[in-house]
Symmetry: C2
Subunit: 277 residues, 2 copies
């Protein structure tokens, strides 16, 4: 049985939490990861821009002969999933649908909180998907824009992060919410702070887990579909060295080699400027 | 006497603090501002990427018939100034040289701190320029990467910002430093927090002021070179509406109209994808 080749993209290294879950569940398959570090973050940018970037990222991965594409970025999943599913000739898996299904299956109170970037929250996509599956659900969406830079600076257990998290999450107390979706790949790294504020009873959904499960289902693969070791390749649009260093923390594996890849189709070298000597 | 047309670019709205200073000093001249909001922030990206983005931004402004270009972004000033000065047929003003001159003229202890993004600090450009003017100067560079997102979220007077600022700046105490350069356009919005931590005696240099003064000198214009009202035009590569809202806070003027402008030369529309229906 031939090994599958899984393509995963994100705006940066956050999507490595999704890759980690995929590696755990499908340890034999090959994975090619692209992080769009030259244009990150995606969280505050417009739909048109995110769609354009996502199509460029996906085209690069498809050119690497992948069998399935995983959009590991929540903002891109919200804003570009439909477009990618329309134009690509392979299955496209996003992080939202699997998380929404799991959240609905876990809630008893039918009250679910969703924490994400401005882009994710204001797109309303999580809200729509939850309501599609369970029309009577009550949803509490909260944009937490500072969580990503705090995680990227390693402030995961910092006093300042606790203060900011309390401020973001204070409106969720005493509402009867029993499930919270961490709708950004960086947020699972803040799970301890968030759990402390929301209480030990709160079920926190890390979308990486159900997304990996969905990938397994789509590929119809088991944990040991091949006796060959898997190949992991990493490409980024900027700062490969930094990606290797910080990324290892997200992936919980050493990232030995990262290649620079400009996916902007016409921009593969510094352009001839309009004015030159 | 004909009015000058001044082009200013930044990765986002931070450069509006520079535009504000230019407006104050040269209230009759026309200004065209470009914010590269689709690709911001610049602070953590590589030199090659920042040079490419800066050349594209500058080419757009030059196509709008400007007489002088002001690089209002510290990271771009550090990493792309030389390239822009080489290829553009008009004077190029950066935020660094004027700030360095002012800082040297103000210090008595010959000990200067520089606060900036990772890109600005690790480029070593501020350090080199300071040493060129004053070889015996002692320099204390500090990267403060969370200041930009904190300012952009409006956390300018927040407890969490104070805690983070204290952590960043604690190493500067009791060193005899008497001048600190706020080497990022966002940092002047944190002037109260920074002044409180560094003490009332510390001279804080906001680069917008000497940069505006340098622009006046280059253009050889006075405060009322024309009886005609000035024209201000704003272009961004993403989210014009958000730019108008947040930008007004930086500019301290209402921004009535912002146009969307893609400066990526080949990317003026969503590309024909490699795979399409």
């Amino acid at each position: 049985m031939e090994k599958a080749r899984i393509g995963i993209f994100d705006s940066g290294f956050g999507g490595l939490t999704v890759m980690r879950a995929v590696c755990d569940l499908l340890p034999s398959e090959d994975i090619i990861y692209f992080g769009d570090t030259a244009r990150l973050p995606y969280g505050n940018k417009s739909k048109a821009t995110i769609v354009r970037y996502s199509v460029e990222n996906a085209n690069f991965l498809v050119s690497q002969n992948i069998d399935v594409l995983v959009i590991a970025c929540h903002t891109a999943s919200c804003l570009a999933k439909e477009q990618l599913q329309k134009i690509l000739p392979i299955p496209v898996i996003d992080v939202i649908s699997p998380s929404v299904k799991l959240a609905i299956s876990q809630t008893k109170t039918k009250k679910i909180a969703v924490l994400g970037t401005y882009g994710t929250i204001s797109s309303g996509v999580y809200q729509n998907e939850l309501r599609k599956l369970c029309p009577e659900i009550e949803i509490f969406p909260v944009a937490c824009p500072l969580f990503v830079p705090l995680v990227e600076e390693g402030f995961t257990h910092h006093k300042a992060t606790e203060i900011i998290a309390k401020e973001y999450l204070t409106g969720l107390a005493h509402k009867g919410i029993d499930v919270t979706i961490l709708a950004c790949t960086h947020y699972p790294l803040l799970v301890e702070v968030i759990q402390k504020i929301l209480g030990e009873e709160m079920i926190l959904i890390d979308p990486a887990i159900p997304t990996a499960e969905k990938t397994r289902l789509v590929l119809e693969k088991g944990p040991s579909s091949s006796s060959l070791s898997p190949t992991y390749q990493f490409f980024v649009s900027d700062n490969p060295q930094k990606f290797g260093q910080i990324g290892s923390k997200f992936l919980k594996k050493t990232i030995a080699s990262v290649s620079l890849q400009n996916v902007d189709p016409q921009d593969n070298d510094l352009k001839q400027p309009a004015f030159a000597l």
